[in-house]
């Protein structure tokens, strides 16, 4: 774990999340990051924190059960097109995603 962060690293992190930050946003995050790192230090102080398994959900019990396949609620073509932000010739129009 890093004990501090640079503005360059913040920018890199933002790029990885498809976020472009303004200079003001970078400055703010840079100023507030030590408080986040301090929180991590407080977690480190928990006795035996690395001697147990991670807790992913509140209960060990798995709730999910499988059910028979059956037809669920289906939207009509008209309903789908109404929900789409852009349509063309009765089809959903998407932005180009490959160069």
């Amino acid at each position: 774990m890093m004990d501090k962060i640079t503005k360059e690293q913040i920018k890199k992190l933002a790029d990885s999340m498809y976020l472009s930050l303004t200079d003001k946003e970078i400055d703010e995050l840079f100023a507030e990051f030590p408080s986040f790192l301090h929180k991590i230090e407080l977690i480190n102080e928990v006795g035996g924190v690395d001697e147990c398994n991670e807790m992913i959900f509140p209960f060990e019990e798995q709730f999910g059960t499988l059910h028979e396949d059956r037809e669920g609620e289906i939207l009509t073509k008209k309903e789908v097109l109404k929900l789409a932000p852009k349509t063309k010739a009765d089809q959903i129009s998407l932005p180009k995603v490959v160069k």
Partner: protein
């Protein structure tokens, strides 16, 4: 008659006696909502509500939610109107389906009046980050004190009041702390007790569905209506749904109650401590045993950091779908990357971007083990300690917040203050049922207390809260 002051049960009795119809009540409340200035509404469903009220038919004496109007936090999907999670990025999103909670309430003819403001994507505790601006605490005429968040709009709507109940969600304390600031009941049952199908994910391992009411009995009634397994939500529970309303009012067990000393000691408001201590005496008079217990300071100090790291990490992943292509408003760009980056950068607030980046840091290859995974291990340590307490005690009992509603600009960064301010997250770590009820007032503003119990023991959590509520109401709290 001031219908806004009535509980679910009181409204139901009026319907049964035919002194008033749902249409009378709905039209009256719509006018109240239109005049309100506390900024708790995101979108209204007035037209639909009037239609439902007009066509509701004969009163169903056995269905206490028949014709009862309610509001919905804006991260719960509804077919009729936009569900934006109070974010610019979803300001055009209409869900093709109703959340299971909404379906269930509509099926028993409760009447939704609209959607309420919230901290954007439920990330926040002040009610200040909605794309529509601040939500004000109706009890503070100066408009300088917060309602609390993230369920700020639903809390304000029940506090004003305009509705007898409002649906909400709780990932760290988003129902139970605003309930304290509003002097109302805020309840989140066990994780999985109410289906989250249609509830937008913030941090799914800690997200709970719940609601605000004006009485504990109403909270029990609602749980009967909302609890149960839902095959659309793989995390919903198959545990038997109890007769919560019957159990709430009838049980007379003597309980063992723990007060965590390290949390109580870090509350600095002496008037609150005094009110709380008096309530302990009331519980003892009722025949319950109340004891102060120790919890290691390192565990107490780790509560908020553990919550923050896990929630940011889960949020950074759960907000990835909001890209302008899969979901939400789309800003123009020449390439896919440009569209996504522009959309997310301009339409997420600065607050959300920060949380996403803290989460991305915690999940990054170099930091994951010592940040995210360690927070998950810390979560286990905290839950193991609390589960041990629950072997001896039925409940943990504490002030729900360290003070009355703070001012919007108040901020205390002290590690010990954070213990008193954020301890309710324990119930999200362990999936415990947890309820806040009004305790009394300090300088005219309410403070609340909280009971947290063992998973799926909602009946006794509601029962102890009901017992204290009855005593405090008699004493004019």
């Amino acid at each position: 008659m001031k219908y806004e002051l009535l509980t679910i049960v009181e409204l139901h009795n009026l319907y049964v006696s035919k002194k008033v119809t749902p249409l009378d009540v709905v039209e009256y409340l719509i006018e109240l909502i239109k005049k309100d200035k506390h900024n708790f509404m995101e979108a209204n469903m007035f037209e639909e509500a009037i239609k439902l009220a007009k066509n509701i038919g004969e009163v169903d004496k056995d269905n206490l939610l028949w014709g009862i109007p309610f509001l919905i936090k804006d991260n719960i999907a509804t077919k009729e109107v936009i569900t934006s999670a109070s974010s610019k990025i979803l300001s055009n999103y209409i869900s093709p389906f109703d959340a299971t909670m909404i379906k269930k309430l509509k099926a028993i003819k409760a009447i939704p009046l609209g959607k309420t403001t919230m901290d954007e994507f439920a990330m926040g505790g002040k009610g200040t980050t909605s794309h529509n601006g601040f939500t004000y605490n109706p009890l503070d005429k100066t408009k300088t004190k917060m309602m609390g968040g993230s369920s700020s709009g639903s809390a304000a709507a029940v506090t004003v009041p305009v509705v007898p109940f409002a649906l909400a969600s709780d990932t760290g304390d988003s129902i139970r702390k605003p309930a304290s600031y509003g002097g109302i009941v805020g309840f989140k049952p066990s994780w999985g007790r109410i289906s989250r199908y249609g509830l937008f994910s913030f941090a799914p391992s800690m997200d709970h569905a719940g609601y605000f009411t004006r009485s504990v009995f109403d909270a029990a009634l609602l749980l009967e209506a909302l609890a149960g397994y839902d095959e659309n939500d793989p995390t919903s529970s198959t545990h038997v749904v109890d007769k919560y309303s019957k159990n709430t009012a009838n049980s007379t067990s003597n309980y063992q109650i723990a007060v965590i000393k390290g949390i109580f000691d870090n509350i600095l408001d002496e008037k609150l401590k005094s009110l709380f201590s008096k309530s302990i005496e009331e519980l003892k008079i009722l025949g319950h045993k109340v004891e102060f217990v120790e919890m290691p300071i390192t565990l107490l100090r780790a509560i908020f950091p553990t919550y923050f790291v896990i929630s940011c990490a889960e949020a950074s992943s759960n907000t990835a779908c909001y890209d302008g292509v899969n979901f939400g408003v789309r800003l123009e760009g020449n390439t896919y990357e440009e569209i996504v980056t522009k959309t997310r950068s301009e339409l997420f607030s600065a607050q959300i971007k920060k949380r996403i980046l803290y989460g991305a840091y915690a999940l990054s290859k170099d930091n994951k083990d010592e940040t995210y995974l360690r927070a998950q291990r810390s979560r286990r340590k905290i839950v193991e300690f609390i589960n041990k307490l629950f072997e001896k005690y039925d409940f943990i009992y504490l002030p729900a917040a360290p003070s009355v509603a703070p001012k919007f600009n108040e901020y205390n960064n002290d590690d010990n203050f954070a213990i008193a301010d954020n301890h309710l997250a324990i119930a999200n770590f362990g999936g415990y049922p947890s309820i806040t009820i009004p305790l009394g007032k300090i300088n005219g503003l309410p403070v609340g207390v909280n009971f947290t119990g063992r998973p799926f023991e909602e009946s006794i959590v509601l029962n102890i809260a009901y017992q204290l509520e009855q005593i405090l109401e008699k004493k004019g709290a």
